[in-house]
């Protein structure tokens, strides 16, 4: 073969460089704010539209609607300059930026989960960068789309914006990352859009903020600048740990939308935490704050705290080396080499924490998640991959959650071994799928299948037609396995089981060994009180994790129970009594009052 015909020569470049605002246009052309990120290279059609993400620039705010000119990122003129230059006045740059940031989020998820993510029925996630007028942006499940709004900056108090200028939520890295994360969480856990306890919507919000914040640390230029400016104290209020600065200022708040550091920066949450009963402020928050974004920020703060302790531990030696052993930084500028090394540690730690946070998903129950469940999932997932916890990543995380009063239910202590999900009892029969047989025909992760038991969801039938083998597997193997071993798998005997997710995971552990797992979600429901609870059925279910040899290792279960029903009823009551609109809701709509099709309603109060 001629060398010129070899794959080395013919292979397309692996990455595509694209320019973005690292935070948002308000930071202007300040060093580091204009940055280039590289995303996986794929063939793009104008939009841009790739295999999983597609930008549709439709504006519904003008009568009759309007499309804007789509960008062709494969146009040589654009390729040559590594994407369009950042600007607010060219919609094609907006399209480029939402695409680039969304791809980055997707890649972070894939890297952590060790598999590719496809959306249901092979659809593409759509991004509408100028969908409507209004200070808001949200994910909508019906459209499988993220809709971004644009609005006029506050006339009286616009911060560093021009009074009345157009502000685009689609030009905020944080807002894009946050909303795309909602879409991905919805992809991984379909039932988390059923807000069956206060932690479920808060988890959605908090997790989206975690992804947005930790993604900041992957931009080397701004990381370098802020480490220099804060003299390595990353908790200082900088755009690095704050979310959506421009949005916050443009809406007249005089500050960023949210911050990763809850109690240190003061603000509303801190005021709310004032207590005279001697209970530490942070613990009160988890018990008293119910608004999803605020409650979510407790989770964010806990994770950030964990990150910060690990980071400090990791740079301690560098600081000692740089200071002749004292570890006390002298006044004045830091040595540029030190900043570079510290930035590298910060970036590595952030990536490792972000990966840990996303990986925990495989270990979450399929329904009704709580922050406590999430802590257990974090610990278990990390333990499976890195049993020894050399840098104290797990220990720091446990401590950060503890100090915020987040305790999982049913554990004896907060020691690591009692936080690990219990191992499945040995009498659970082998998982019925032989890894190299059935699974090898399935691209890892390309598959997540629902059974016909599911309530009307046209998506399901389409998918079943597209992949008949997979639905056979679900119907003939997985469901019968779950139904005949219901008791052992934490399910209720005699009740139909729905298979809501099934995929294999391949990862490389700390010691270089390949960790292979088969993860399956089984869900059951009790619908007798669905109407009374505003459209929320009571769901129970288990995430079953099996090893490569089919041995069931974990059964992470939320069984159907009277107690859970009671608790869900109380929660719905609380939502009803605190929602002023409930007083005026027509009787015929009350049966669906708890049903969310996306985040429009939650985010309506985004300006909190």
């Amino acid at each position: 073969m001629k060398r010129i015909e070899s794959r080395y020569v013919l292979a397309p470049p692996a990455r595509r460089p694209l320019k973005i605002f690292a935070s948002d246009p308000m930071q202007g052309r300040a060093a580091g704010n204009l940055t280039t990120i590289a995303v996986g290279n794929e063939k793009l059609t104008p939009g841009p539209a790739g295999s999983r993400i597609e930008v549709v620039d439709y504006d519904g705010s003008v009568p009759g609607g309007r499309y804007y000119q789509p960008v062709d990122l494969d146009d040589p003129a654009i390729l040559m300059q590594g994407g369009l230059e950042p600007t607010e006045s060219d919609p094609r740059f907006h399209q480029q930026m939402v695409y680039a940031v969304a791809m980055k989020v997707l890649e972070n998820f894939e890297r952590a989960l060790g598999r590719s993510i496809y959306f249901r029925e092979g659809r593409r996630l759509r991004l509408l960068p100028h969908a409507f007028r209004g200070p808001n942006a949200f994910y909508d499940r019906r459209l499988l789309a993220v809709l971004f709004g644009y609005f006029r900056a506050d006339l009286a108090n616009p911060g560093r914006n021009l009074p009345g200028q157009n502000v685009f939520t689609c030009l905020s890295h944080d807002i894009i990352a946050h909303e795309v994360t909602h879409a991905l969480v919805d992809r991984l856990r379909w039932n988390f859009l059923e807000f069956s306890n206060p932690d479920v919507p808060a988890f959605h919000e908090g997790f989206a903020d975690i992804v947005a914040i930790f993604q900041h640390f992957t931009f080397p230029d701004i990381l370098y600048d802020y480490i220099r400016a804060t003299r390595t104290d990353l908790r200082s209020p900088t755009p690095l740990v704050q979310l959506a600065q421009q949005f916050g200022y443009a809406t007249g708040r005089g500050r960023a939308l949210r911050s990763a550091v809850d109690l240190d920066t003061g603000g509303a949450l801190r005021a709310r935490a004032r207590g005279d009963d001697g209970q530490p402020a942070a613990e009160r928050l988890y018990q008293s704050v119910m608004e999803p974004h605020e409650r979510g920020s407790i989770l964010v703060a806990a994770v950030f705290d964990g990150f910060f302790s690990v980071y400090q531990r990791r740079i301690a030696d560098l600081l000692r080396i740089a200071t002749g052993g004292t570890g006390m930084l002298p006044a004045g500028d830091l040595h540029p080499d030190l900043i570079t090394r510290v930035a590298a540690e910060a970036s590595r730690t952030a990536q490792s924490i972000l990966t840990m946070c996303i990986r925990a998903f495989e270990y979450l129950p399929p329904v009704d998640v709580t922050f406590g469940d999430y802590l257990r999932a974090l610990v278990t997932a990390d333990y499976e991959l890195n049993p020894s916890d050399d840098v104290g990543q797990r220990a720091s995380m446990i401590e950060a959650f503890r100090s915020r009063g987040i305790y999982p239910e049913g554990v004896w202590s907060l020691a690591e071994e009692s936080l690990l999900w219990e191992n499945a009892p040995p009498e659970v029969p082998r998982f019925p799928v032989a890894l190299l047989g059935d699974l090898s025909s399935v691209a890892p992760g390309a598959f997540s299948q629902a059974s016909k038991e599911r309530e009307s969801r046209p998506a399901v039938e389409t998918a079943a037609r597209a992949a008949p083998d997979l639905s056979d597997l679900t119907d003939d193997v997985l469901r019968p396995y779950a139904e005949s071993n219901a008791g052992l798998l934490g399910l209720e005997k005699g009740r139909p089981v729905d298979v809501q997710g099934f995929h294999s995971v391949f990862r490389v552990g700390q010691d270089g060994r390949l960790v292979i797992e088969i993860v399956t979600q089984f869900v059951q429901q009790e619908k007798s009180e669905t109407l009374a609870m505003g459209g929320l059925p009571l769901r129970g279910g288990s995430t079953v994790i099996a090893g490569a040899d089919g041995t069931v290792r974990y059964v992470i279960s939320k069984p159907l129970s009277r107690e859970r029903l009671e608790r869900q009823r109380e929660w719905v009551d609380l939502v009803d009594s605190t929602n002023p609109a409930a007083a005026y809701m027509p009787e015929d709509r009350r049966g669906e009052r708890m049903v969310a099709t996306g985040f429009a309603a939650i985010h309506r109060s985004i300006v909190r």
């Binding site: 439709y58 309007r66 609109a581 409930a582 027509p586 009787e587």
Partner: protein, 302 residues
């Protein structure tokens, strides 16, 4: 009067100003876009309180002595007044709790005000989001279906009713909650107090002990969903054979679930003596008439 009316209290002033600003903007905007009558009325309800309050502040004829309740000092919330001999007054709400105060100035309101201001700016100076014409003629690849476009076009519809309800809840959150105690009688007037205020009252052992003795209840907010909490009715309100009177000023209107059926059914298990303003033969013909007299007499035995 509730402490939120105290002109000398800066927090009260802030709350009142925020509420009036929102009420005004909402009312103007609703009228401008031609919203449904019941929603406009909801906003107007918050507005009209202004005039009533003026009268109350100025006094009906001359200088009335006003007290703002409850006092900040918890120990002074049970007191007597010279004008009501033999009556002990318990001022239970509105609460001073941070979360209750947050609800008096709802965040929905702030974001809505901004939307209205931005809308006004747009009308004054309509300009496209980008300089120049970037419109794509025709349908690009990957365009939305008609149904999908309808969803996108409809974003923001119905926001006004959500904000109107939030404002209504906010105004009601400033309701004065009083229990008047005279002889063996405990008369409870919770105004239109909402969950926040009730929650603080139900968390106070002294107040719950008093609530258990209620002999007369004025049902709040026309018997709506959130003005009478279930734990209060189920666990504290006396049941037969103890005597209880309940009175509710209400009327069914449009699609609003007022009065709430479940609440009326639950109350019926506590007492047969429920007076409903919409169910007194001949008293009302579909609407409340201002100044129409409506009396139900009962005797209170000291």
């Amino acid at each position: 009067m509730p402490w939120t009316e105290d002109p000398a209290d800066p927090e009260a002033r802030r709350i009142r100003e925020a509420q009036s600003r929102l009420a005004l903007a909402l009312h103007e905007e609703l009228t401008r876009i031609g919203a449904a009558a019941d929603v406009i009325d909801l906003a107007a309800n918050a507005l009209s309180n202004e005039a009533a309050m003026q009268t109350l502040h100025a006094g009906f004829g001359g200088e009335a002595v006003r007290r703002y309740l409850p006092p900040r000092d918890r120990r002074k919330r049970t007191f007597t007044a010279d004008c009501l001999p033999g009556v002990t007054i318990h001022a239970m709400g509105p609460s001073f709790d941070e979360s209750v105060i947050t609800n008096m100035d709802p965040p929905e309101g702030k974001s809505y005000l901004q939307l209205v201001a931005a809308g006004a700016a747009d009308r004054k100076d309509p300009r496209p989001p980008f300089p120049g014409d970037w419109t794509y003629e025709g349908l690009p690849a990957g365009s939305l279906s008609a149904e999908e476009r309808a969803i996108v076009d409809g974003i923001g519809e119905g926001d006004e009713s959500v904000v109107a309800a939030a404002l209504d809840g906010a105004v009601n959150g400033t309701s004065l909650v009083l229990m008047l105690q005279t002889g063996r009688n405990y008369l409870l007037f919770p105004g239109d107090a909402q969950w926040g205020t009730w929650n603080m009252i139900l968390g106070d052992a002294e107040w719950t002990a008093l609530l258990k003795k209620t002999t007369f209840l004025k049902v709040g907010h026309h018997g709506s969903h959130n003005a009478t909490p279930r734990p209060f009715v189920d666990d504290l309100l006396p049941r037969p054979p103890r005597e209880l009177w309940a009175m509710v000023s209400t009327i069914q209107r449009g699609s609003w679930p007022i009065p709430k059926k479940e609440l009326m059914t639950a109350l019926a298990t506590h007492t047969k003596r429920i007076v409903r303003s919409d169910q007194i033969p001949g008293a009302l013909q579909g609407v409340f008439k201002p100044r129409a007299s409506l009396c139900v007499e009962t005797e209170i035995l000291a």
